[in-house]
């Protein structure tokens, strides 16, 4: 048994200043830094929007929903930033595997925030419709001018919603590069943000035309979309915690790495049969490789150990996300693995195609 628990060679281990990014390959360290900056900006901006909405329109029922949404959208950036701090910590006695999973926990929070926001918008709007709530919007005096409060509300909504369009786009791009699920969920949160904001704006304009139901109807349609996104992310987050087979960061399909590693293992001439299983630990993958060595590979002194180490290095070089693997020589393989000939009861299910 050769547990390869050192940090792999190919991962640049030179700690880069205070950020100590050893989870990421060097070319992505900058992206990560950008993401952290973006999340700080989001946090600061959304906090300012929360304060603005509270100060100007906090007591108005029609704006309360927008306010709660803004409050919820503080959660994913906060989760991301906290996880970014924790995940690079060295393993300790208390946390022998390090704190990579902080990212998985952050993902659960971000995904839940998205789902809760969708559910909140849905129920809030449904209640408005069922009770036939007619939102009152009167006049406000600003700088000696009396103006319809509706215009002021629209202004505040634009302030809170417009930057979300750009922040969301930028985060999505970074999430794709970094394969970062928390960032991805946050990008979806921003998308949800500006969509509900435009619904609210449309709703206020509708209210001005005497259509009291306008914003509720618009918001219900949008809430379905958010609930769908939220549900997908919560599911993916829970799957990650249950060590499900790794998926891409946007949960669309399985990550191809397991198959690639399987292929690489089974291509080795000294391997009779091999199987790989990986799990996600936050940002990175870890797991076991089981190999049944051929007879001849078992002979010879120490040769097997060399081969195992060589194989480990090769496998780790396939994908930066694979952080740590353990190669175990065994007599028989008893774990399900994607390209294994299926066995009764243990064959992996066909890949369900996620929405």
């Amino acid at each position: 048994v050769t547990p390869d628990d050192r940090r792999p060679e190919h991962h640049d281990r030179e700690r880069e200043g205070p950020s100590r990014e050893f989870e990421l390959p060097r070319e992505l360290v900058d992206q990560q830094r950008k993401a952290v900056r973006l999340e700080w900006i989001t946090l600061a901006y959304m906090a300012s929007a929360v304060v603005l909405l509270f100060l100007t329109l906090g007591q108005s029922q029609a704006m309360k929903a927008a306010w709660i949404e803004d409050l919820l959208s503080l959660l994913p950036p906060a989760a991301f930033l906290i996880a970014s701090r924790l995940r690079n910590r060295d393993p300790s006695e208390k946390f022998p595997w390090g704190l990579h999973r902080a990212v998985s926990v952050a993902y659960v929070f971000a995904a839940l925030a998205l789902l809760v926001m969708g559910a909140f918008v849905f129920f809030d709007s449904a209640i408005k419709l069922v009770l036939a709530e007619h939102p009152p919007i009167g006049v406000i005096q600003l700088f000696g001018q009396e103006i319809w409060l509706g215009w002021v509300m629209i202004g505040a909504l634009v302030y809170s919603g417009l930057p979300a369009v750009f922040l969301g786009r930028a985060k999505r791009k970074l999430a794709d590069d970094l394969h970062d699920k928390v960032l991805y969920a946050d990008a979806q949160m921003n998308r949800a943000d500006w969509m509900t904001v435009s619904a609210a704006i449309g709703g206020i304009i509708g209210i001005g035309f005497g259509l009291w139901w306008a914003d509720a109807v618009a918001a219900i349609f949008i809430s379905l979309d958010i609930v769908h996104d939220g549900w997908k992310n919560v599911r993916a987050a829970v799957h990650d915690l249950m060590d499900a087979r790794p998926r891409r960061h946007d949960a669309r399909e399985y990550h191809p790495i397991v198959e690639r590693m399987n292929e690489a293992v089974n291509r080795c001439d000294w391997v009779e049969q091999g199987a790989v299983r990986l799990r996600e630990e936050g940002h990175v993958f870890t797991g076991e490789v089981m190999v049944v060595p051929r007879e001849r590979a078992l002979a010879g002194d120490g040769e097997l150990l060399d081969r195992l180490e060589e194989l480990a290095d090769h496998l780790l070089s396939l994908e930066w996300k694979v952080y740590d693997i353990v190669i175990v020589p065994v007599k028989e393989i008893d774990i399900p693995s994607p390209t294994m000939p299926s066995r009764a009861g243990k064959s992996p299910k066909k890949e369900e195609s996620p929405a």
């Binding site: 005096q141 009396e146 435009s198 005497g210 259509l211």
Partner: protein
């Protein structure tokens, strides 16, 4: 980063931007409609139930509930009160004839919900519990309850031991007890103790020959109420009430005279 990743991303980004374009088109269309409506001089905002259009040159049903000095009743009709006077001149402003509806606050709120009453006058404040059932105007006047005393005399901190008159059974009586160390002296008629320290509404100070000592017991922001969502009517009323603080204070001094 494997290839399939970027190709997938590409697809998704495309569908994403389509929805963005749709949203953009929708917003544009809305603003266009809006611009046209405003340009055409349409009423904006409008009432879902058309209250403003109905009372304009027609009948405005005003619910009243006794609340001296805001609404003073004599039988089924109000005989005076600051809010009653305001409602009369608002009715003249929109060209409406007033039909008075007398009832308790709750009766009036229920009637407003069903659209049977257009405007409620009951000395309401913005802290009222009907907040969610009817639409309040912005506060049109703020009144304070203060400890008033004849000018030129000085009093110990918190009026310790000083007899301060207060109307019997009013909330001021309790507030005075809580907030100061004064000797609370409940009376039925404040005017009978003119010139003595008293806890009163600020608009009564002059009449009682008192000045504000700066000790504030309470503050209330007064509002009127209309049916929820009748925004054109609400906006019209609020515009009428804005910047009338002085006029309203005069009304109060006159109507509130003890």
């Amino acid at each position: 980063m494997a290839l399939p990743v970027s190709s997938l991303t590409g697809r998704e980004t495309r569908s994403h931007s389509v929805s963005r374009v749709n949203a953009g088109v929708r917003t544009l269309a809305l603003s266009a409609v809006l611009a046209v409506a405003v340009a055409a001089g349409c009423q904006y905002p409008r009432d879902p139930d058309g209250t403003l259009n109905r009372v304009d040159g027609g009948v405005m049903r005003v619910g009243v509930s006794e609340s001296d000095p805001w609404v003073v009743m004599e039988g089924d009709e109000p005989s005076g009160g600051a809010e009653v006077e305001l409602a009369r001149s608002f009715a003249r402003d929109v060209g409406a004839r007033i039909e008075w509806v007398q009832g308790s606050e709750e009766e009036l709120v229920d009637a407003a919900k069903e659209g049977q009453v257009d405007l409620i006058l009951a000395g309401l404040t913005n802290k009222s519990r009907w907040k969610k059932d009817v639409a309040f105007t912005r506060p049109y006047v703020e009144t304070r309850t203060v400890v008033g005393a004849p000018g030129g005399r000085s009093y110990p901190d918190d009026f310790e031991g000083v007899p301060v008159a207060v109307e019997l059974g009013s909330d001021e009586e309790g507030l005075l007890e809580q907030r100061t160390d004064a000797r609370v002296t409940p009376v039925t008629d404040l005017a009978s103790r003119r010139g003595e320290p008293a806890a009163v509404h600020d608009y009564l100070l002059d009449d009682l020959g008192l000045t504000d000592t700066g000790t504030e017991l309470d503050k209330s922001k007064h509002v009127m109420a209309v049916k929820l969502g009748e925004n054109a009517f609400l906006v019209r009323l609020e515009r009428f009430l804005l910047n009338r603080e002085d006029e309203i204070r005069q009304l109060l001094t006159r109507e509130g005279r003890p």
